[in-house]
Amino acid sequence: MRHLLSINDLDRAGIERILDRAKTFTEVSEREIKKVPALRGRRVLNLFYESSTRTRSSFELAAKSLSADVINFAASGSAVDKGESLKDTVQTLSAYRPDLIVIRTPHVGAAELVANWTTAGVVNAGDGKHEHPTQALLDVYTLRERLGTLEGKNIWIVGDITHSRVARSCILAFQMMGAKVTVAGPPTLIPRGMEAMCEVEYSLDRLPEADVVYALRMQNERMTDSFVPSLREYATQYQIDGRRLSARQVLMHPGPVNRGVELSAEVIDSPQAVIGQQVEAGVVVRMAVLYELLTGRNAPKPSLSTAVPA
């Protein structure tokens, strides 16, 4: 595997291989010197066209924990502001000979385009509303830790499905791992055609059937586009609170949480919630992804070898 652009680049065995390796990396974070030399001398370029706290920092931390060199490139304040196209930016930065480019953009398919324009491996860290595969992997990791397996589990993803790349990657990954996925949310925020991917529900009446409740962030701007009449009405219908969440269910959220909107404060701090574990898993899972792409069978050759004539 050269790139991780979509969950569909993986199969169940591939996901398990990456997550098993991630598990072995947890030990690194517990050391006094939190670093192993696995990717020493490799260059990882973080190319972020959207703001991001946890994804970018966890990729950076993951790369550094494996001793890779990291360059962070934020679109604002760069040549992008002067009108440089994505293609020119990628080709320019490729001249720095990165071994891997981690890219986040607001545009569907941009990571795949970048993969065509560079010899580096590419990790999709979110392309518009399309996919966010490392988020889905860390979610599977977290669930494996908590439940042992996803096989046969009922997972409900609740909220704004239309605008969620997390939902799209998670549906694919959870199903690949043997779970049954249901999306639930306002009919205005579940796109027509979703029923071809998974079960669709417009109310939470059957939520008690879920083993896992995965709440999505409800963004303020959805009100201005009148997808829902008000946050208050949304919360009444879809907020996961102590009344709706049962003791046997696991609660997830990709962050950042809008307290009092999609989740009530009581459930965020409840033992069912694994939101903190998800963040923690982010680093080891991304370490495993970087390791897989840079040392695997089809990994890009180290830059040096391409520079030296055969």
Binding site: H107, G109, R192, G193
Partner: protein, 435 residues
């Protein structure tokens, strides 16, 4: 009302081609003599004398195609296409007349702009070109253009193509004014409040990809509205680039009520679906209206067969490479289509050959132009095609200035060998030595 750079009148004998013209009923192997740019004789075993002989053996001779819907990008967007490259592209596709849309920079919305455009066409166009003017000034949808003066200057009709006429009152006034000035009123149908920020067909594929969708009802609801207005005013409207089953149904119903309504479908909507977008987010597959589902495609094919859809039009929409070499959502809408129109439809094996020829020529009458026919005494408007020839689209480049062809890289059957437009030979297949 058509303009082009004069081509020397042809004196040739097309020998042994299978001549097929659904309107004159010709459907057999014959020789066709062209003298002084006119069809002089049709028969068996005609003698060449000292004129050039075009070898028709194993090839088909059709009346030349007419496209009522192309974008030539002049004035103002000559980096995408110009009158010469656009008409060269048309000639390479077997077209003998095309109609350019007015959504240029500036818009073709006044007599001086139209006059200068026609003058430029007399200098640059390889085949006859007609022009539509806009319905509203600057395509702003607010005030009518000076339709009478524009018609006097040679506008074939009016359209705000690229945009719908959202304001029903304006469309109604234009249809009232049509009683005075005549000419077609061609409509791009889409309700912006339903299309929103959509970039592809709304359905299973857009849901999976996370792309905003353009629902089929965005098109069909506005067609229904405009058919009602046309019926009320007794006006004549032409619906551009039909894409959805719902739209075909609305038009069939309107025709049954006697509304003067015609419509077109494009080769890409007849041969591709949104599944192609799923395979690869190829910006060449991004156009408006978008590629829809297999069910929609079948409805369009059926509509052509039963007469609900009157003609095939390409909506040839060139865009520069750098404009299309961006993420899907950022790319402009449009695909080129002149060079591939016949081959795409023929290769897809969706319509009988005679019907393809009929639908690729029927656009002429809709915009008030004479329909090319293979008959003695008519100007030679002909295309000679090798149906057996297979070719890869784009492999040897394009005649168009742009390369955003949705069929790029696909293998098609049916290659234009020679095009004769308005009596002159305007295209000959390049005979490059095989490498």
């Amino acid at each position: 009302m058509l303009d082009h750079r004069p081509t020397p009148p042809a004196d040739v004998l097309i020998k042994g081609a299978h001549v097929l013209d659904p309107r004159t009923g010709l459907d057999e192997r014959l020789d066709v003599r062209i003298a002084g740019g006119e069809i002089a004789e049709i028969g068996a075993n005609l003698q060449a004398g000292d004129v050039e002989v075009l070898d028709g053996a194993g090839r088909h001779l059709f009346p030349g195609f007419v496209d009522p819907h192309v974008h030539l990008r002049v004035p103002g967007q000559e980096h995408k296409e110009d009158l010469e490259t656009g008409t060269r592209s048309a000639a390479a596709g077997g077209f003998v007349a095309i109609v350019a849309q007015p959504n240029t920079t500036p818009t073709v919305d006044s007599a001086p702009i139209l006059r200068s455009l026609r003058e430029q066409a007399r200098r640059d166009a390889r085949i006859p070109v007609g022009f539509l003017a806009s319905i509203t000034r600057g395509l702003a949808g607010e005030t009518m253009t000076e339709m009478a003066e524009l018609r006097e200057c040679g506008a074939l009709g009016f359209t705000d193509d690229g945009k719908p006429v959202v304001n029903a009152g304006i469309l109604r006034k234009a249809l009232q004014y049509q009683k005075l000035v005549g000419g077609i009123i061609a409509l791009h149908e889409e309700d912006p409040s339903l299309s929103g920020k959509g970039v592809m067909h709304e359905g299973v594929v857009s849901a999976r990809l996370g792309l905003a969708g353009i629902p089929s009802i965005s098109e069909s609801t506005l067609i229904a509205r405009d058919a009602a207005i046309a019926r009320y005013e007794g006006g004549r409207i032409h619906i551009q680039h039909l894409s959805a089953r719902e739209s075909v149904e609305v038009i069939a119903a309107a025709k049954a009520q006697g509304v003067q309504i015609t419509c077109e479908a494009s080769p890409h909507h007849l041969t591709l679906t949104d599944e192609a977008v799923a395979e690869k987010l190829d910006t060449r597959l991004k156009m408006n209206p978008p590629l829809r589902t297999e069910d929609d495609r079948q409805a369009l094919i059926q509509g052509l067969k039963d007469g609900t859809i009157d003609c095939i039009a390409t909506d040839h929409a060139p865009h520069a490479r750098e404009e299309k070499e961006v993420p899907f959502e950022q790319a402009p809408m449009g695909t080129t289509g002149l060079e591939t129109a016949f081959a795409a439809v023929y290769t897809a094996d969706i319509l009988p050959l005679a019907l393809i020829v009929e639908k690729l020529t029927a656009g002429a009458a809709l915009v008030g132009l004479p329909t090319p026919e293979i008959a003695v005494g008519r100007a030679a408007d002909l295309v000679l095609i090798d149906l057996g020839a297979e070719w890869e689209v784009g492999a040897t480049g394009y005649e168009s200035k742009s390369e955003n062809c949705c069929f790029g890289g696909r293998r098609l059957r049916g290659k234009v060998v020679t095009t004769i437009a308005a009596g002159g030979i305007v295209y000959r297949e390049r005979n490059l030595a095989a490498v």
